[in-house]
């Protein structure tokens, strides 16, 4: 496979308080991206406080000792920058891309809220953000067709005691129960320099930036250690086919079919990722070609991996029916395609197509300073090794069609399936009467 190698320069260091820093210079444009990962997500929530990690992410924009409520947004936008934060199962991140002369401001802002958040916290701010998050929940989950897949799928595929089982955005009653005391405790436990990775990519001066990082973050004391998560390990397969059927206010049946898969970062993960691309990346993928184009039983078909690093990753196939195709028929058609794949394996042509697309996507993503900084934080947080960014293309190139076929045989059979099947509620058929209420769409990653 011919491919122009690209590597980004990477330097790392660690402050005395444990803050891990990765730097990657690129002076082609006067832009710099800052990306701060805290190694905490919804998996770290305790019972009765679901949604807390994400609510907390909102609170980080409500000011700190020297920054007013929402002033973080204002200062970054005034500086000509873009910003946001996002919460995931096992991490929360905060990121800004700014003109390079504004880097020091960003470092000061991030340090101020890492070190001095609590003096600015008030009950009223918490109450307002609770309302904002409830509206976010209504908007992204409750008032979106299929929107609940986002919390139903983890609930189905992870056992009840597992940290990935519960809802990331949380229940309305748990959001109501969150108190200022919870905020203080969560902050003291997880928002510490030794539980964070700071990545900077783009146009900056290395020695000056090192000095600024030490100046702004150096005096923040380390935390008392991160409480361990419960045992995450799971068997390689579900041991059967777990099925859930949901009658909902949707117009067309839609199937989410999940398989347990090797965790992100393992050699086997890359075979799973290529398998996902073969099945459901773009219109030349097997499911799109067979179900949308040839058999015309599906309106849309895609596949993706969750990229989880603990317990078990998931490969998910997501197919929406054509009008007039019943839910049972949809499930059977998808299962037939997967069975065919298990029986005959992938072809060299399909394999080459998937690898070529993954390579182009990787280069396209690396154009953006924000994407580079995010990936540096990812590999530093999960594997303590940001250099892995530069090995991703080789990791994909090292996979063979036979590796994919081994993955397919081991993981895509009936002993490793879990499905969520959305079915239009009785009455909300494809020709609804005027009075009926209907709903359709997908929740996205929760963001501030």
């Amino acid at each position: 496979m011919q491919f122009t190698r690209m590597r980004i320069p990477i330097e790392t260091f660690r402050l005395a308080n444990g803050l891990f820093v990765t730097l990657s210079e690129d002076h082609t444009a006067p832009i710099v991206a800052v990306n701060l990962w805290y190694h905490v997500g919804s998996a770290n929530e305790r019972e009765g406080r679901t949604g807390f990690a994400h609510l907390f992410e909102h609170m980080l924009f409500q000011g700190s000792a020297d920054v007013g409520a929402n002033e973080h947004f204002e200062l970054i936008q005034r500086a000509g920058g873009t910003l946001n934060g996002s919460t995931w199962l096992d991490r929360t991140n905060y990121f800004e891309t700014v003109p390079s002369n504004q880097l020091e401001l960003v470092l000061w802002l991030e340090a101020n809220r890492m070190g001095w958040l609590l003096p600015a916290m008030t009950q009223q701010k918490l109450d307002t953000q609770r309302d904002v998050v409830k509206n976010e929940r209504r908007w992204s989950v409750d008032n979106q067709p299929y929107g609940t897949w986002w919390e139903r799928l983890p609930a189905l595929v992870f056992p009840e005691e597992h940290p990935f089982h519960h809802s990331l955005i949380g229940s309305m009653s748990d959001l109501d129960a969150a108190s200022l005391e919870d905020i203080k405790h969560f902050f003291a436990t997880y928002y510490t320099p030794d539980n964070a990775v700071l990545s900077i990519a783009g146009d900056f001066d290395k020695s000056e930036t090192r000095a600024h990082i030490t100046k702004y973050f150096g005096s923040i004391p380390p935390g008392g250690g991160r409480p361990p998560l419960p045992e995450m390990t799971l068997p390689a397969t579900f041991g059967g086919w777990k099925r859930v059927v949901i009658e909902d206010d949707v117009m067309l049946p839609r199937l989410f079919l999940a398989f347990r898969a090797p965790v992100f970062g393992t050699k086997e993960y890359y075979a799973s990722s290529i398998c996902g691309a073969i099945l459901g990346l773009r219109k030349g993928s097997r499911l799109h070609r067979r179900l949308v184009r040839e058999r015309q039983v599906a309106a849309e078909a895609q596949a993706f991996t969750y990229d989880l690093t603990k317990g078990s990753d998931l490969l998910v196939v997501d197919v929406t029916a054509r009008p007039s195709i019943a839910a049972e028929a949809l499930e059977r058609e998808v299962a037939d395609e997967i069975d065919l794949l298990v029986r005959d394996g992938v072809t060299e042509e399909e394999f080459a197509r998937a690898v070529a697309l993954v390579q182009t996507e990787f280069v396209a993503a690396m154009q953006s300073a924000g994407d580079r900084a995010d990936r540096l934080s990812l590999f530093a947080t999960y594997f303590k090794n940001p250099e892995l960014v530069n090995e991703q293309v080789e990791q994909y190139e090292a996979v063979t069609a036979e590796d994919v076929n081994t993955f397919v045989r081991e993981r895509l059979g009936e002993s490793n399936r879990a499905s969520l099947l959305f079915v239009p509620r009785q009455g909300s058929s494809e020709e609804p009467s005027p009075s009926e209420e209907i709903a359709a769409g997908v929740g996205s990653v929760a963001q501030s």
Binding site: A29, R289, Q359, A440
Partner: protein, 465 residues
């Protein structure tokens, strides 16, 4: 429990807020314009950073070119380009692009049709040749025509259950006079899509797709001379005339306020749209209108978002925007709020529209908006696809070649008085249309009590109830 509370400790040294250094200079990428003897125009921006290139073929074949009653024809035609040529069927065309690692999209918006492909530089020639093939000899096989029509019908069916999309579609349909192309969905409605035929598609293609009406925009790791040669090799012997320019009517349906409630019983939220017909993209007040909108609802720290989200907790987010087109597209405030505060949120939005017309914005508000648009400028052009899209904008609206070179000066030149004047001239509180997609039972009485304007309730298919 952690032994170590690290927040709120007064003994920690805190550094004061730093001041910023001077910005480093930035220049929008240089580009060359050239043309082939057959009329095909080329816009080429060499970006040597990474081995990747984006090509956009731009044709004057947008939804405004749809013949009366054939709404959706422009989009169907664009989509069908990738569904088979005279030598390869749809499966084979897709496979040939994707085995090159190339991502390709064909689309028609209101003004133009585009085919955009991003590929690694060492695959440029075969990708370009394939792009030439889909543009020059599409097959429009009956089977693919029927399949894409059915996919559009499935999309329309899904839309009935999708509150955000429904609110956007209904807003446009209530905004423009019924004979305006803008009053119908750009991809067509159920009746019009059912009536589209292969003959209509090939007729539309014959009229609108020609090297004489086309511009190819290339941004990435290329040399201008090489691209010109490639274009000559692949497209040089393609012949065709100049398509007739088409425009849409952009007349409003009403000159006075009205409320349109689209009923979805039990909806936990109302999708709210408030606005009116806006401005054409090429307008002398463009910059002052953009700054005015940024302060009112374009930024996170805008008046409307801070009011609705942060002061009242009504919503996850509220924003306003101009939907820029060659003719006057909509100007709209969009948000989703809990049903019981729908009228309260609407009152706040209307108050903010009145307020920005009645007094100059503060120096802080002005500088926030101008310094944001000035500073964020280089961040908008990090990727080859973003640069190709920026050059596409230039061509579609006929903006001058120095548009991006003078953009930041124009932003910085806007004064508070210009913003006030833009608000007075281009916001029309008396003509606002309000669309609510939500529970009519929960919102109707309180919205009527606002005395905003006449209230009409519809079902999700737009039938008055």
């Amino acid at each position: 429990m952690s032994a170590h509370m690290n927040g709120g400790s007064a003994v920690l040294e805190r550094a004061p807020r730093p001041s910023s250094a001077a910005p480093r200079p930035y220049q929008f990428p240089r580009f060359d314009r050239t043309a082939l003897p057959n009329g095909l125009k080329l816009v080429i921006a060499p970006i040597p950073k990474l081995p990747i290139v984006t090509i956009t073929a731009l044709l004057d074949a947008g939804a405004v070119c749809d013949p009366q009653g054939r709404f959706g024809l422009a989009q169907l035609t664009a989509d069908l380009l990738l569904e088979g040529s005279t030598s390869s069927d749809g499966t084979a065309i897709t496979d040939r692009f994707e085995r090159l690692g190339a991502s390709v999209e064909a689309h028609a918006d209101w003004d133009v049709a585009t085919v955009t492909v991003t590929t690694l530089t060492h695959k440029l020639r075969p990708t370009f040749e394939l792009l030439g093939e889909v543009l020059r000899v599409p097959a429009f096989n009956d089977r693919e025509v029927e399949r894409l029509k059915n996919e559009r019908l499935a999309e329309l069916l899904q839309l009935r259950a999708e509150p955000r999309g429904l609110a956007d579609e209904f807003f446009s349909s209530f905004l423009y006079e019924s004979s305006s192309r803008y009053a119908r969905p750009d991809g067509g409605d159920e009746a019009s899509v059912r009536g589209l035929t292969r003959d209509a598609v090939s007729g539309f293609y014959a009229k609108r797709y020609s090297p004489n009406g086309m511009t190819m925009i290339v941004a990435g790791d290329v040399r201008a001379g090489d691209i010109e040669q490639l274009a000559r090799d692949v497209l040089g012997d393609w012949k065709g005339g100049v398509p007739v320019a088409m425009t849409a009517s952009d007349e409003a349906a009403r000159r006075t306020r009205a409320v349109h409630i689209v009923s979805k019983s039990d909806a936990p939220q109302s999708e709210l749209r408030i606005g009116h017909v806006g401005l054409p993209r090429r307008h002398p007040d463009y910059f002052s209108a953009v700054i005015m909108n940024a302060v009112l609802g374009g930024l996170f720290s805008s008046r409307i978002n801070l009011n609705l989200r942060e002061a009242h907790g009504y919503t996850y987010g509220a924003s306003s925007y101009f939907d820029w087109r060659r003719q006057r597209g909509p100007w709209v405030v969009a948000t989703a709020v809990a049903s019981e505060v729908t009228h309260s949120a609407a009152i706040e939005v209307i108050n903010e529209i009145e307020r920005i017309r009645s007094a100059p914005i503060t120096p802080d508000e002005l500088s926030l908006a101008t310094s944001y648009l000035d500073g964020v400028f280089p961040i908008r052009f990090e990727t080859t696809s973003a640069i190709a899209a920026a050059l596409t904008t230039l061509v579609v609206y006929g903006l001058p070649d120095d548009w991006y070179d003078t953009y930041r000066e124009h932003v910085r030149a806007v004064m508070a008085a210009d913003v006030l004047s833009a608000a007075e001239r281009h916001l029309h509180p008396e003509a606002l249309q309000m669309v609510v997609v939500g529970s009519a039972a929960a919102v109707r009485d309180s919205v009527e009590a606002m005395a905003f304007g006449p209230v009409q309730v519809y079902d999700v298919e737009g039938r008055p109830t």
